[in-house]
């Protein structure tokens, strides 16, 4: 599978950020951000999983190799997981993946973890805005293929 981007050549590059949201807290949080019409840049693609513990590092790597400029793990706060311990596993996987990607040479900002609760809509929107700025500053991912526009 390869991503076939827009036909129009865009002079200014917009970051593509992949967001893994757990079904319970963080998806509701992102929903809350939308409903409340909080300002959010349209750079994110959300993938909903039932629990942050479902986010397989393989998905994250695939997202980066397919052209995402950054990948965000989100889920319920520690202690609030709908399935009790799923987010502990997500945290462990995230930490190991972080070391590996750091050793690989990928910039720190490209993989992030943020716990979000259902009521934190505005914090969520703010977080996405912050991440988008960070990514804009460091540029497109070196793992993107040039012809993936």
């Amino acid at each position: 599978m390869h991503l076939r981007g827009d036909r129009k050549m865009e002079e200014e590059w917009t970051p593509k950020i992949t967001l893994f949201c757990c079904n319970w807290c963080s998806y509701a949080g992102s929903d809350d951000a939308g409903v409340g019409r909080k300002q959010q840049p349209p750079t994110t693609r959300t993938i909903r999983v039932m629990c942050s513990g479902r986010t397989d590092p393989g998905f994250v790597l695939a997202a980066l190799l397919e052209g995402s400029d950054a990948v965000l793990f989100t889920g319920c706060h520690i202690g609030d997981c709908h399935y009790i311990s799923g987010n502990y596993k997500a945290k462990k996987r995230f930490e190991m993946l972080k070391e590996i990607l750091d050793e690989l040479g990928l910039e720190d900002e490209r993989l992030q973890l943020q716990w979000i609760s259902a009521s934190e809509g505005s914090e969520f929107a703010e977080y996405i805005r912050k991440v988008t700025e960070e990514i804009k500053a460091i540029g497109p991912s070196p793992l993107r293929q040039e012809w993936m526009k």
Partner: protein
């Protein structure tokens, strides 16, 4: 004798004592284990030449006796052979000679329930390193000026690699050989675990005299192996001398120091991020998707694996996701056995890549794989 004892031992059979390395103790332990019905089968290395060893799994004592002798130029890892034994005989018992990397691989497979450690007798072998056969043959021609066909014996003693033919005996220091690009395989140079403390016994010639093996007993099973062989009248033992013990400790210390030096030499950190990323991208680019690295890895145990499921050769990715997933999944368990580099047809230095990742993760979680039954970090949840 007790657990923790250090003795010297040798075979009582004159033939085995002569043919076997250091008095033929390991051969005798294997034959004794079969004769005393401690095990169903043993794994031994059948020597086809000084540069070729084929692992066999057998219950025939005569076949085992024919396998005597050490073979430094046959870099084999026996873990997957042990796994296959338990696949075919889930209730069986097995004994095998195990270098530290064999024993560690087996312990890791035991954690993944592919091997029953209780039913595996690990006769540990001290190991200073193995060599690739083709490199060794070239080394003989270039550095020793000996025809590989004429070699009748090889030995490593006090940091020197010695080759004997009918006519002569030549020794060159391993340091000198390795500076020239020959000598041991690269991963063996920086391996710091030379004494198999994770096995049932540790056998070697450090601290032992002529035609005898220095044995350290670590476990109940190790004690059982020794007592069984003594009762059958196949081996004789004597307590290790203080001097022998000291020599062994000193040799081990020296080897560890040399290993650390090699580690520093090979694992040079690449400070600049982009340069590092390009290093990884370049080095893995030549991969031709043979999957031999996965086949031969002693720690890989998946029946259905994500590295293969996620990988589609039709994708045009800048780095192979097969390799990225393996680097991640093995980062807590890589034991640095070097098999992956040995079998890669594109000459990718896979062991170095995996160890770069593993050094970081294993240090972070303070975990050394293959030493005991402690669960790997990726299996654990806080």
């Amino acid at each position: 004798m007790n657990i923790g004892d250090r003795v010297v031992a040798w075979s009582k059979d004159e033939e085995i004592k002569k043919e076997g390395a250091s008095g033929g103790l390991v051969t005798s332990l294997l034959t004794a284990a079969l004769k005393g019905e401690l095990v169903d089968e043993v794994i031994a290395l059948q020597k086809k030449s000084e540069f070729e060893g084929v692992p066999i799994r057998t219950s025939d004592v005569d076949e085992v006796i024919k396998c005597s002798g050490s073979l430094h130029a046959a870099p084999i890892n026996l873990t997957k052979f042990a796994v296959r034994f338990f696949e075919e005989h889930p209730d069986g018992t097995l004994a095998l000679p195990a270098k530290p990397c064999d024993a560690r691989g087996i312990i890791e497979q035991a954690k993944r329930k592919k091997i029953d450690l209780e039913k595996t007798y690990l006769i540990g072998l001290n190991c200073g390193g193995t060599m690739g056969p083709i490199t060794t043959m070239k080394m003989l021609e270039k550095m020793y000026e000996i025809d590989p066909n004429e070699v009748i014996e090889e030995e490593i003693e006090r940091g020197k690699l010695i080759f004997k033919t009918e006519k002569e005996e030549k020794a060159i220091s391993i340091d000198e050989l390795e500076e020239a690009g020959y000598g041991r395989r690269e991963n063996c140079r920086y391996c710091e675990i030379n004494i198999p403390v994770m096995a049932d016994l540790a056998c070697g010639n450090w601290g032992a005299g002529e035609n005898e093996t220095f044995v350290e007993i670590f476990t109940e099973k190790g004690l059982k192996l020794m007592n069984n062989a003594i009762e059958l009248g196949l081996i004789e033992t004597a307590p290790a001398t203080e001097k022998g013990i000291k020599i062994r400790e000193k040799t081990n210390g020296v080897m560890e120091k040399v290993a650390k030096k090699w580690h520093e030499k090979i694992f040079v950190p690449i400070e600049d991020r982009l340069e590092r990323l390009h290093y990884y991208m370049d080095v893995m680019e030549d991969c031709i998707d043979c999957e031999a690295c996965k086949y031969v890895c002693p720690v890989c145990a998946c029946d259905e694996s994500k590295c293969i499921d996620f990988y589609d050769p039709m994708d045009s990715h800048k780095i192979s996701i097969y390799h990225l997933i393996r680097l991640l999944h093995l980062s807590d368990s890589c034991i640095g056995c070097g098999q992956c580099t040995d079998v890669c047809p594109a000459e990718i230095p896979l062991t170095t890549l995996h160890r770069r990742m593993a050094d970081r993760i294993q240090t972070k979680y303070n975990y050394v794989p293959g030493m005991d039954m402690k669960i790997p970090p990726s299996f654990e949840v806080e």
